[in-house]
Symmetry: C2
Subunit: 132 residues, 2 copies
């Protein structure tokens, strides 16, 4: 705190921080293990707690619950409680969440192109571009 660096790197840092700040928040939200999956499921109209649990096979109630809460808190999904017996709750995606899944889909798309083959291949990697 007492020795902040004001070198030339600082300029870059500033520019980079602006991007970092928000990006970090986003990644903090959807970087968690089950979050993106739950979001996608809800987008696909899997709106009940138990349905989600089935789809996610072995997820604990605990974890699913906290993930859902996080998503609700972040306004990516909405929660609708039907106060009846048996208790019924439905989750639905928000426009905000829908927009996110859209970007996520691009991310997925990128992954399919760039890391699909990366599982076991260790080719002789030599630089091909003419840097310097």
């Amino acid at each position: 705190m007492s020795e902040r660096k004001f070198n030339s790197t600082n300029t870059l840092n500033e520019f980079f921080l602006e991007e970092r700040c928000t990006l970090n928040k986003v990644l903090k939200i959807i970087g968690k293990r089950w979050v993106s999956e739950v979001l996608v499921l809800i987008k696909q109209d899997v709106s009940r707690f138990s349905n989600l649990k089935e789809c996610l096979d072995g997820i604990s109630d605990n974890v699913l619950s906290s993930v859902l809460n996080e998503l609700v808190k972040s306004k990516l999904i909405g929660k609708e409680i039907f106060n009846q017996v048996p208790l019924k709750v439905e989750y639905h995606i928000t426009p905000s969440g829908l927009a996110l899944t859209n970007v996520l889909h691009q991310l997925c798309d990128w992954g399919k192109e760039h890391i699909a083959y990366e599982t076991r291949m260790k080719p002789t990697f030599a630089r091909k571009d003419g840097k310097d």
Copy 2:
């Protein structure tokens, strides 16, 4: 394993899994704390270990090192070693990595629109859409 669910959820599950698989890999890579930031920095031609360290202020050598390794392993950045004294190493972004930052930027963009105000606001949130 012995009691796979073949209910209606299974259909959704199948579709969702295809997306999950790759998306998870991607998020696994860039969801780590410093990864996205390092990637952005390198995109901005901060190519030396020490420069990166300065930009990231308090990051440990250890962490930076492992992050760089991950990025190299994932082919998001390339590593060029100049075997001289003092030892010099340069990192540069790959086309693959560049494409990723592009998507990341959209993610950031999304964040700016949707979670900028979310820090402290707790408005009375009631459903507006006419979902039954």
